[in-house]
Symmetry: C2
Subunit: 295 residues, 2 copies
C-alpha cells in the first residue's frame, strides 16, 4: 500500500498530491518524465545519524589501525584528534562541518591509497557486518527508515529516478545501496576520491575528487552526475539547505522523536528555519511516521 508506514497527516497528503500533480499533464506542476529527478541526503534522512554517522566508525577505525602500524603518526593530525578523542574535532566532524571533514579526509586519502575496488568493498562489508549501533544493538543497515523506502517506491512508480546525495563517501554507500535502499550504485552521489587506472588495474588515489558533497557542493555533484538539479529533494541538516532551496518540492526530516529515535536540532537550525518560513514539507518523525525502521 502506498506510504503505509506514514500516518494520514497533511504531510503525507502533500507528498501524494505533489507526486500526482507532476504526472498529471493538466496540472501546472506537470513535469516530463526526463526531469523527474529526486535527491536525498543519507545520514539522518535515510537512516539514523546519531550519535555520529555510521561511516565515522569505519573511518576512525581505519586511522586507528594506521597509528597501530606506525605509532609515530599519533603526534600528527588528524590522527592525534582521533586518538585523543578531541571533543572540538569530534563535534565538528559529527555535524559535517566542511573544514573538519576536509582535514579528516586528508588522513583518509593516505589510508586507502592504492586499494582496489574489491579490497575497499571487502573492508566496508566487514565493518558493516561487525558494527552494532550503540543504542539499538543492531547493524546500521537495519536502521534505514521504512517510510523513506516507501517514498522511493511511490516516486519510482511515477517514473522518477532517485539519487542519494550525501556528504559521506560515495564508495562506502555504494556497497549497501542496492540491498538497503533498492538503489543502483550509479544513483549514489557522494564525496569521493579519484580512482586511477595504473598497471592495468583500478586503484584509489590519494586525491579527493573536486569537492565534497556538502552545502553548494551537493548541487555541483548532482549537476555533474545528472545534468540537472533535483526537482524533489529531501534532507535533515544545514548541509542540505542549498539542495532543497533549488528544488521544487522540499522535504525536511525533523528529528523530534526522543522515544523511538532522537531529538536533534544541532546543525539543522538554518534548514528548520528556512523550512518553517518557506512552508516546506516538514516531516515530523513523531507524528508523521507510524513505523520508523524497515522491517
Amino acid at each position: 500500500m502506498t506510504l503505509s508506514s506514514w500516518n494520514d497527516t497533511p504531510t503525507k497528503q502533500a507528498i501524494l498530491d505533489y507526486v500526482a500533480a507532476v504526472s498529471d499533464e493538466s496540472s501546472p506542476d506537470y513535469v516530463p518524465p526526463a526531469e523527474r529527478i529526486a535527491a536525498f541526503d543519507n545520514d539522518g534522512t535515510l537512516w539514523v545519524e546519531q550519535p555520529a554517522p555510521a561511516q565515522t566508525g569505519f573511518l576512525f577505525g581505519k586511522l586507528v589501525e594506521q597509528v597501530k602500524a606506525d605509532p609515530s603518526l599519533a603526534a600528527e593530525e588528524p590522527y592525534k584528534a582521533i586518538i585523543t578523542q578531541d571533543p572540538v574535532f569530534m563535534q565538528a566532524f559529527a555535524q559535517q562541518v566542511p573544514e573538519a571533514v576536509i582535514a579528516f579526509l586528508k588522513g583518509v586519502g593516505k589510508a586507502w591509497e592504492g586499494t582496489t575496488p574489491e579490497e575497499y568493498e571487502a573492508e566496508v562489508r566487514a565493518f558493516l557486518a561487525a558494527s552494532m549501533h550503540p543504542r539499538y544493538g543492531c547493524p546500521w543497515t537495519d536502521l534505514v527508515y521504512q517510510p523513506m523506502l516507501e517514498l522511493f517506491d511511490l516516486l519510482r512508480e511515477n517514473g522518477w529516478r532517485i539519487f542519494v546525495c550525501s556528504g559521506g563517501g560515495r564508495d562506502f554507500m555504494r556497497v549497501f545501496s542496492e540491498d538497503a535502499w533498492g538503489i543502483y550504485r550509479e544513483h549514489v552521489i557522494g564525496s569521493a576520491p579519484e580512482w586511477g587506472y595504473e598497471d592495468g588495474r583500478l586503484v584509489r588515489l590519494n586525491e579527493l575528487h573536486g569537492n565534497i558533497a556538502l552545502g553548494p557542493g551537493k548541487l555541483e555533484h548532482i549537476y555533474a552526475r545528472t545534468g540537472r538539479t533535483a526537482l524533489f529533494a529531501g534532507g535533515n541538516g544545514d548541509v542540505d539547505l542549498d539542495m532543497l532551496q533549488e528544488a521544487r518540492f522540499r522535504l525536511v526530516v525533523v528529528h523530534d522523536d526522543a522515544e523511538r529515535e532522537y531529538v536533534v536540532t544541532a546543525a539543522a537550525e538554518k534548514l528548520l528555519a528556512a523550512g518553517e518560513e518557506g512552508g516546506w514539507t516538514m516531516v515530523s518523525m513523531k507524528d508523521d511516521w507510524k513505523t520508523i525502521f524497515k522491517d
Copy 2:
C-alpha cells in the same frame, strides 16, 4: 522486431545469444540485474565520426569567435592551429590523440568560463540546429546508427542500463542524448569541466574534471559514475580499447562501408587487431547492418 535493422549474420546471433545468456539463471554467463551495465563510445559507434567528430565544429567555431572578439589571440595556441587549419593538429584532434585533445581543451575551458548550464545548452542547440553534415547534408543528429538504437532496446528489455562513455564533452552530448538515443542525461559519461556554485548559481569553471574519458580514462569515468566496469562494451577506435578489454562482451563497430558510410582504420588499428585476435564481436557495417541511419 528485435534487431530488425541487423542482417541475419553470426554477429547478430552472437549478440542475441549473449544477451539471452546473461538473463538465463542456468547459464554460466548469467549475471544478476544490478551488474548488467553496458557502455558505448559515441563518435563512430553511435553516429558518424567522419570527416571529424560533430563536436569539433562546435568547439572550433567557438574559438574562432573568440579570436574575432580579440584578434591578438590568433598568435597563441590553440587558436593559431585552428585559424591556420594546421594539418598536424587537425589530424591528431580528429583521431582523439589525448595530448591534442588536452591542449585544445585548455582554450575551450577559457571560452566557456562563467557560462550557466542554460546558456551552454542554448549554444549547443543552436549549433545542432544550424550545422549540416558535409556529405549527407542533414543535421548530425539524423546520423545516429539505427542498429545501435535497436541494440539499446534489446538490452533495456533485458534489464540492462546503458551508458554512453565518450571522450567528447559530457555536457555537449547530454543536450541531445534523450531525443537522439532515448538515454537520460545521467547515463551520459564524458570529458567534462568542473561546474561551481557561485553567487547562488551554477557556472562553468575553467577547470577540466580529473581526466578525459579516453583510453584508461574511460574505465576511470565509468567506475566513478557507476561503481562498476561495463559488462558489455562497444567502441570503434583505439581510445576504446581499455574499456572493451575489461568487458565480458566486446563489440567493435568496423567502418567498412564506403558506399553508405566510410572506410576507416586510422586510429583503430590496435582495436581491430585486438578484436580479430581475441574473437570479439566485430560488426561489419557493410555486411551486418541492413540500415545504417535512424528513420
